[in-house]
Symmetry: C2
């Protein structure tokens, strides 16, 4: 069993995970970032120790602890360099601090990589050696597994699938570039684009559903409106699927992977997105490569964060074994 810690800005979730991806002794605590570094880590350590104790009491053997966090992580030292969830943290050596208090090896990686480790370990990518993961959330994240191993890149920052340019003269992205995949396929981009359309005079039932308050629009509301046949909402969702298809076609032609896994909040609209995305992939990627690459919705659901974090530990321990 591995302990997985899904370190979020609001809540932190801890659980023990076995190699079938079952989660035991789930515990959740409010992260309370404003309590300060020492207190926040202390509370999380107590929770981890409590999950370890319960698991060991039942005779399970714990092999390691994995921590997944948004942000830039130096995986070699397990340091949180910066994180959007912890604006005051800078260069926090999480692995070092944790290993002083926990009698098992601790491994830290970012949430997109944790997602990939989880799907590879016990999810839809279980028997797959090469896969690209894409998360359609507030942003568009990504992670690349090749030859059974996660490719971290020279600076540990590979996998920024969301920041491929898919429309050179397109919308400005938060990263400063124009026309990134993130500007067309993230949940927040769905909201942003329907607002732009409303401001340019287009009508939509979405506005009725939020009582005319644009700030209440969410991607789920847009998706629902599209399901109900609202022309503008359908247009936005279709555009989302087309750009996702362009991004996936690029990944297929570049990396020739076995599998593409799509997760994140907007993947809830998979039934609507998938046929359009697939058609775009087939239109753009080499036929033989597009035939190889399965395109699947993520499989781990609500526990993906904990399972993926546990997967970090599982895979990192294997890497250590390889190195020996």
């Amino acid at each position: 069993m591995f302990i997985g810690v899904d370190l979020g800005g609001t809540n932190t979730r801890v659980g023990a995970v076995n190699s079938s991806g079952q989660v035991f002794h789930r515990l959740s605590l409010p992260t309370r970032v404003n309590l300060g570094l020492e207190e926040v880590i202390g509370r999380i350590v107590s929770t981890i120790l409590s999950v370890i104790e319960q698991s060991e009491k039942e005779g399970y053997q714990i092999k390691g602890v994995g921590i997944g966090s948004a942000g830039i992580i130096d995986i070699r030292t397990g340091t949180v360099v910066t994180s959007p969830n912890f604006p005051e943290w800078s260069q926090v050596p999480l692995k070092l601090i944790m290993e002083n208090k926990i009698p098992y090896p601790v491994f830290v990686d970012n949430d997109a990589n944790a997602f990939a480790y989880g799907e590879k370990w016990v999810g839809v990518g279980k028997n797959v050696q090469s896969m690209v993961c894409i998360t359609l959330g507030t942003g568009v994240g990504g992670a690349i597994i090749l030859g059974g191993r996660l490719w971290h890149g020279f600076d540990g920052m590979a996998g920024e699938v969301g920041h491929m340019t898919v429309q050179p003269n397109g919308l400005r992205c938060n990263c400063g570039n124009y026309g990134c995949l993130e500007s067309y396929a993230s949940a927040s981009s769905v909201v942003r684009r329907i607002k732009l359309a409303i401001q340019s005079g287009r009508t939509t039932i979405v506005m009725d559903q939020v009582n005319g308050d644009q700030d209440k629009i969410t991607s789920t509301i847009v998706y629902q409106a599209a399901l109900e046949g609202d022309p503008l909402a359908k247009e936005i969702m279709e555009e989302t699927a087309v750009y996702l298809g362009i991004g996936i076609a690029n990944l297929i032609n570049l990396l020739n992977p076995e599998l593409i896994v799509v997760g994140g909040g907007l993947a809830n609209a998979w039934d609507m997105l998938y046929p359009i995305t697939l058609a775009e992939v087939r239109r753009r990627a080499f036929a033989s490569l597009a035939q190889t690459a399965q395109i699947r919705k993520a499989s781990l659901g609500d526990d993906a964060g904990i399972i993926g974090a546990a997967g970090i530990a599982s895979f990192s321990l294997k890497e250590v074994a390889y190195a020996i």
Copy 2:
């Protein structure tokens, strides 16, 4: 020493290469595709054996033979599946045939991968563990080295850098897609786009240089006209550099490599392309990743084909050693 065989549609070039990238006993022969499979291979084998004999006479130890060929290669069996240079070849087990006649292990890979092996072995990528190679020739080829090894992909077809979509509504590519990098950054695309501009009424000194015969336009002539200040030629070359920059920025954000190497005929215009390409990369890629990734012109020149082919053998033998 390794023997490198650059198997071309017109000429085949053979040489012995040492680990400093020096080429000895260069021999070249017309490939004469129309002589038929057996005769073509027989002629090449004779040439290889002659280079081996000369090298061994001087006391050099040969470790293996590498063959680089355009087309789709099954690297596991060393089979030429299909090749544009040999339209009548289909599923030719080149490794098997060659190893029956040559007393050394033979390895076959495609020309883009050979290019990457050469640059990694003795060229600009010598001390680099992660690099992406891009060749700007008739098409745009590519190869990806990660963690010191070439990523071949699930079907052995990874690295199709030229078939990233960089302009969703762009020019139609030979592959059937629209707006591929190849449609904007290959040598033939330079010719194609200046012809389109001429047909739409634009004037250029290029037409004087080919005595009004559009079929005589080459990318070198366009580059020369741009150097002389011809506005249309400059525009086309600048567009080429911008799209190359978009493609490279995508590779940097996805793979976070140490090095990007650009080769192929159009790389002769590197002094003109590079500043524009670099500016576009900096505009689009994450600043920290763009700072990491060196962008360099290929270093091996005329012998790149032979050296790269020898590099296939050098790296493949190492892989075998890893596997043992």
